[in-house]
Symmetry: C2
Subunit: 182 residues, 2 copies
């Protein structure tokens, strides 16, 4: 499974591509940051984010895009830019028919460090270890994007099992209903 993780932001939008399956060593295929100038107006910054995300999608052809879920109750000053950048990331993926999954920051931290309250340094250290890198990716947004992708790869089996269970339950229910009306 190849996943593009996106840590959305207008000033720095972290992007990272990880390939692998749960339970096997993971491979980093790319990491970086899409930056937009703080003095440009929001519309042009969103166009720059779109262009950046499109390039990452073109280059790496991910099967899934994992985006950090934005909460409105967080830092009021930055939340708007984060929400806008995440909207562009979701739009770019959905336009291509690539599934978008959202993970909360604490889900991501818990997945890679074991604690939903881990700090940036801990997340960076675990990303470095799990992807067998020489040093933590900089800036933190880039490391967070990789952590999102790892989180998705590791959570996907559980999510798939859940979806399969729901599908099986529905099929069983449909058969039971059919038996009743026959």
């Amino acid at each position: 499974m190849r996943v593009l993780g996106v840590d959305p932001g207008l000033t720095r939008c972290g992007v990272g591509v990880v390939e692998g399956v749960a339970g096997r060593p993971l491979t980093m295929l790319g990491v970086g940051v899409v930056r937009t100038p703080a003095d440009a107006d929001t519309g042009h910054r969103l166009v720059a984010v779109e262009r950046g995300i499109e390039e990452w999608l073109d280059t790496h052809r991910p099967e899934v895009v994992a985006v950090e879920r934005v909460f409105s109750q967080h830092n009021v000053r930055t939340v708007m830019g984060t929400a806008q950048a995440s909207a562009v990331a979701m739009l770019c993926a959905s336009r291509r028919g690539i599934p978008v999954v959202l993970h909360t920051p604490s889900e991501v931290k818990a997945a890679v460090t074991g604690s939903g309250r881990a700090d940036k340094a801990q997340v960076g250290a675990m990303v470095t270890r799990l992807l067998r890198l020489d040093a933590p990716p900089k800036p933190a947004d880039a490391a967070d994007a990789l952590a999102l992708a790892i989180c998705h790869i590791w959570r996907a089996p559980a999510q798939n099992r859940l979806q399969q269970a729901v599908a099986a339950h529905r099929a069983h229910h449909a058969r039971a209903m059919k038996g009743r009306t026959a």
Copy 2:
């Protein structure tokens, strides 16, 4: 001046096109709502908003797009969808090189009713009167989009005068600097 007003939202995104200049009767060229299904995932809803906005831009070729400025401190449950839809509207306009202007809800209310705290019914009534319509546009999102466009047309002369004054000041300053170094 032809302005597309956008009252952003994921469930209902109000759109309205008004043509005119300050101090002259205004003309409504179109009004409507871009709707997206509440049960679709966010990415696909944003694709639908993008498609809708693109159609309005294609049909009406506005010179300016006026979007309601979203505040994060407002209704926490809906602010994310509003921020995301407004990001798509700004992206669509900026991609075409159409200037985007943001107006706050109270600026819009004050422009069309004289009071920044006017209610929806008052805004609808004034939009109906100013555009010489038979009845207030429904839903309120559509009326709000028209009010945004009207607000922009009426505020534009003041904004232009301000920009001209700044430009004149800069030109004067540049001449003075030149005189000093000559």
